[in-house]
Amino acid sequence: MEFSSEQIKRYARHIILPEVGGEGQERLLSSKVLLIGAGGLGAPCGYYLGAAGIGTLGIVDFDTVDLSNLQRQIWHGTNDVGRYKVDSAKDSIERINPDVRVVTYKEKICSENIKELISGYDVVIDATDNFPTRYLINDACHFIKKPLVYGSIFRFDGQATVFLPEGDGPCYRCLFPSPPPPGLVPSCQEAGVLGVLPGVIGAIQANEAIKIILGVGRTLNGRLLIYDALDMKFTEMKLRKDKTCPLCGENPSVLDLIDYEQFCEARQ
């Protein structure tokens, strides 16, 4: 792959880093990342991935922009209210970097479509906001063997980690074997969320995805990063593979995708 003179200039601050170099930048430009969720986490994450020159960025979201989203979902503007989030996101990325091919999916991700959706991508980013979708993405990434960058937020708390398909790493089910019963955890929509919080966690997710593609540094695989925005404290917990995990443990009972709405509703 030959860089154009414009590309050399655009990516100069990456190329000059020994950890990236021309080869790393080429790798980014030929990589494919699937971003699931174009909201608070997806916006900063997608912005940085686009600016970094990720070659193909798939974005999945069926929702439209609401005025109450704009406090945190920074790639949508006031004029985008009512538009599909993926359309607004595509415009924002293309404004920054025409090198990126943005592929939009205006659909709800589910057991029927997820395997096909993720199979063409190198890295999957979970920027969603609900438990059924998180378990769905985790299980699909396990079966199709895709690296998964996890980020989650609530009020002032953030969590991030990386689940890798190879090695002894854990999966989301090793971390939380089952979701909380419905109603116990209020959603961001009703409980509120500090607008900057998804910015911090979403940027960390972009950073981890880029490291996975470049093969540099040490990812959060095996570590759970906890961010407390009120205390301004980052803590790190060990995240181990659970031998009794129903998905990736020694005697798995989840052998294919299940009905995740039911899985999350039926609890307790």
Partner: protein, 171 residues
């Protein structure tokens, strides 16, 4: 030196907003019981009735998940830090929730009561911000689809803007 327990934001309503509290005990379960004494209600948020930690909550002793130590019997000593980490999704909305935006003139009307009285629905306020001139309420409405629709129409006919809080994949 005592044992520190880090409290996640959802549980800070029980600790008067404190992000870190001091407790004592020689095992995790003793620490949790001690915590319950000082902050009633916190134990049931962390443990099942049989004392085991709920499956959507993780308890860490320093940086180690207690499930990979001796679980609730893991030994604790002075200077240790215990962290409670709940599963968070950024969302987890249910399907029949609405945002009600009240116009100033409707704030003093008992509309939620009337909706419950006139239609076969159960209402539950999940969050609200009400002042003299602004009223925004996140309301859960339970009931059959037709009854919910009637209740929504009732709010709207009283000048309240009703927006569904949709279960979506975005946060």
């Amino acid at each position: 030196m005592a044992i520190k327990v880090r409290i996640p934001t959802p549980l800070r309503t029980l600790t008067a907003g404190k992000s870190e509290v001091e407790t004592s005990g020689t095992t995790i379960i003793e620490v949790i019981n001690h915590l319950e004494k000082n902050y009633p209600g916190i134990k049931e948020r962390i443990c099942e009735q049989n004392d085991q930690v709920r499956r959507f909550v993780n308890v860490y002793l320093n940086d180690e998940d207690i499930r990979f130590c001796d679980n609730i019997k893991s030994a604790v000593k002075d200077g240790d830090t215990i962290s409670i980490i709940p599963a968070i999704a950024g969302g987890a909305g249910e399907k029949k929730k609405f945002y009600l935006n009240y116009p100033q003139e409707a704030i003093k009307e008992p509309l939620i009561y009337l909706a419950g009285k006139n239609y076969n629905v159960i209402t539950n306020i999940r969050s609200a911000s009400i002042s003299n001139d602004i009223g925004i309420i996140a309301l859960e409405i339970e009931g059959g689809p037709e009854e919910i629709e009637k209740a929504v129409k009732f709010f709207e006919s009283n000048g309240v803007t009703v927006e569904p809080i949709v279960l979506d994949v975005v946060e």
